[in-house]
């Protein structure tokens, strides 16, 4: 389903990751050594972040990089599948931690929680875009924060070597800058995961059917993405940068091959982070594009896909977005 909004802006973006990680040496001591080497070559992940902190704390620390004292958004949207607690969700916790409680002259921000995974950032941006259509909403904070390592079965190679923890926050406004394209075009879709290709089970752990997810990526996401590009009146060559959800090296490599995307237009940031779910596109941006001017992001597409099974694409101009360098929490 296609959606279009005008005059919107991703003002700034900040990401936070825990300093703590685990990688090949820990995995080799737990699993078969040869298998680990093969798998890390295929996933392009030799270590992932493993947070001692909650998704709420990671999300709050990212948000702090975006706001000076006495400034606050009109609404907060939190996207996570691993909230610090189920009730209340992370959004009101972030408002509280940021000190954005009701005052004499202002109300606290409206708080939304979206329980979504790898497509969650794009879906969260869509929610923000709808809010920003209202006169009373001028700024939205979107926070995507995951601690998937807590859902991983330590004995399951497929998930333990893949998923990592991290957070990204974005300040979204309705004031496109001079010379900036303020049109946002979305495509959102769902193909219900009746086979449980990526799901938690009664044992409390996250289970993944790798081939099922791969099938979804190449059989559903790629054709939908090609159609989305066409519906924007563009060719694949006219997309300046493909900002893909960092699913796994093998999946991304095959999608790139199918769409014949040059490597320099499809950046990767998997190694050292892992698949960080809804935060991954933000961490990708912070890893490659920290700064304030990015001509290569003028005609960018964000491509989220994964659990659900859901996908979300956003074509937007991020060339003037202020992107903070990744904040490593607790670094020595």
């Amino acid at each position: 389903m296609l959606f279009k909004f005008e005059g919107l802006n991703i003002e700034a973006l900040a990401s936070a990751i825990p300093w703590q990680s685990e990688g090949i040496s820990e995995w080799k001591s737990f699993f078969d050594k040869t298998g680990i080497c093969q798998l890390t070559q295929q996933t392009r992940i030799t270590s992932v972040r493993k947070s001692p902190y909650s998704s709420l704390k990671l999300g709050t620390l990212s948000s702090r990089l975006l706001y000076k004292k006495n400034k606050q958004p009109d609404a907060i949207i939190s996207v996570t599948q691993t909230p610090e607690r189920l009730v209340p969700g992370n959004a009101s916790g972030i408002a509280s931690a940021m000190g954005w409680t009701k005052g004499k002259e202002r109300a606290a921000p409206l708080c939304w929680d979206l329980q979504m995974g790898c497509a969650g950032m794009v879906w969260g941006l869509h929610q923000a875009a709808m809010l920003l259509q209202q006169d009373s909403i001028n700024e939205v904070l979107l926070v995507c924060s995951e601690t998937h390592s807590r859902l991983v079965n330590p004995g399951d190679r497929a998930t333990r070597l893949l998923f990592g923890d991290g957070a990204t926050a974005m300040r979204l406004t309705k004031q496109a800058k001079a010379g900036q394209e303020g049109t946002w075009t979305f495509e959102l879709g769902t193909q219900p995961d009746d086979a449980g290709q990526l799901c938690t089970k009664p044992d409390g752990f996250l289970h993944m059917d790798g081939l099922g997810i791969f099938d979804f990526a190449v059989g559903t996401v790629v054709p939908a993405l090609e159609k989305f590009i066409q519906s924007n009146g563009l060719s694949k060559d006219q997309i300046s940068t493909y900002l893909m959800h960092q699913a796994s090296g093998l999946v991304l490599q095959y999608m790139q091959r199918m769409m014949q995307i040059p490597s320099d237009r499809m950046p990767i940031a998997l190694d050292g982070y892992g698949n960080t779910g809804s935060a991954s596109i933000g961490i990708l941006l912070a890893h490659h594009f920290a700064g304030t001017s990015h001509p290569e992001l003028r005609n960018a597409i964000m491509v989220g896909f994964g659990s659900g099974l859901q996908w979300g694409f956003l074509k937007a101009d991020l060339s003037q977005t202020k992107i903070h360098p990744i904040l490593p929490i607790d670094s020595p």
């Binding site: 093969q38 190449v218 059989g219």
Partner: protein
Amino acid sequence: MNDASPQPPLSIGSWFMNQIQDYLVRRSIPLDLESGMDSPLYGAGALDSMQLVDLIMFVEDAYWADYGQRLLLANAAAFSAKRSPYRTLGSFAEFLDIQAQIQAQDGTPNHA
């Protein structure tokens, strides 16, 4: 992959067997090929899903290098087929042969 042969082999089956053997050596995977083209390739006791995708990309690269045709062998129809074309060496070789013909006629790699 295509280290020595200046001419592509005549039989797709023997070419494919060579690629599988090469792949298994390079990745240090101890897969039993004693049953020849009937040897199980994907599923219980054979390659796991990550290895299968890795193999598919390996074969695509080798085919391009030896035959000059870019193929896409991972497609939705193949994954969702009740009898997976990747289940044995023989079924994969047959699938490869058919896909090569279809995609040559289309002029582009086949997505779905």
